[in-house]
Symmetry: C2
Subunit: 125 residues, 2 copies
DNA sequence: CAGAATCCCATACGATACTG
DNA sequence: CAGTATCGTATGGGATTCTG
């Protein structure tokens, strides 16, 4: 599959699958692009992490949203939940191989955003 | 910049900028990952398009959301609005160079999702 | 520590109608 | 054609409290 990487103007491997209103692609896209999905995914790119670590990393996330986001991502097979039966409880979250594939595509995007964000919100060229 | 593409485990060019709650990166990320942002951007990857074409492409979008999304993306400098003073009105939207950069990162992501979506929502490995 | 449960609100979003 | 205006709803998401 070829995709030229700049000032790209013609392709259409998406035509059949992303744009229809009720398609699997839309569902997955919504999960990933939910307010916290990307952040949790990318946070896990740095290796397995515990609940509280994720909570600290994704600043501003509520417990409810963390739980919900983790469940969705687990349901999609992007992350793995490893609960150890100890007291106090310890649960580690990590990327599955599918999750790693996705994150590999997400990281460049987030990096680009991170680099250009300031100019963008400041309205600079 | 190197980013290994699987079972990737260490980098952190994001540490400083994406995770803080009130940072430009978050703002831009929210714009891009809004329900319709990605779709409109990627639709425009196929070349300049008119309002009604975009509306047809991004199936399910309401006029309100299309207008709002286009304004946000224009405000961020991702797309260009070219209104021609003719009757009936004709307005073409196109990607700016900044928009093209972004889209170049978005397309592989959407393609990946498009390919794997079915398995993901069906709960298959 | 790692959640689940509940309550509640803001706003994202859709449907419809109207306009230059 | 390319929008704007208005209204109503659904739900994303926060705060708080409770539990194994």
């Amino acid at each position: 599959m070829k995709v030229s990487t700049s000032t790209n103007q013609s392709f259409d491997p998406l035509a059949g699958g992303i744009f229809p209103a009720a398609c699997p692609s839309r569902t997955v896209l919504d999960h990933v692009s939910s307010k916290w999905g990307v952040l949790i995914l990318v946070a896990l790119a740095q290796g397995p992490q515990r609940w509280s670590e994720l909570r600290r990393r994704a600043q501003g996330i509520s417990e409810k949203m963390l739980a919900q986001t983790l469940k969705t991502l687990e349901g999609d097979g992007f992350i793995l939940r490893d609960a150890q039966p100890v007291i106090p409880p310890r649960v580690d979250y990590s990327l599955t191989s599918r999750g790693s594939e996705l994150v590999a595509l997400l990281v460049p995007l987030l990096e680009w955003i991170n680099v250009h964000a300031e100019d963008i919100v400041n309205g600079q060229a």
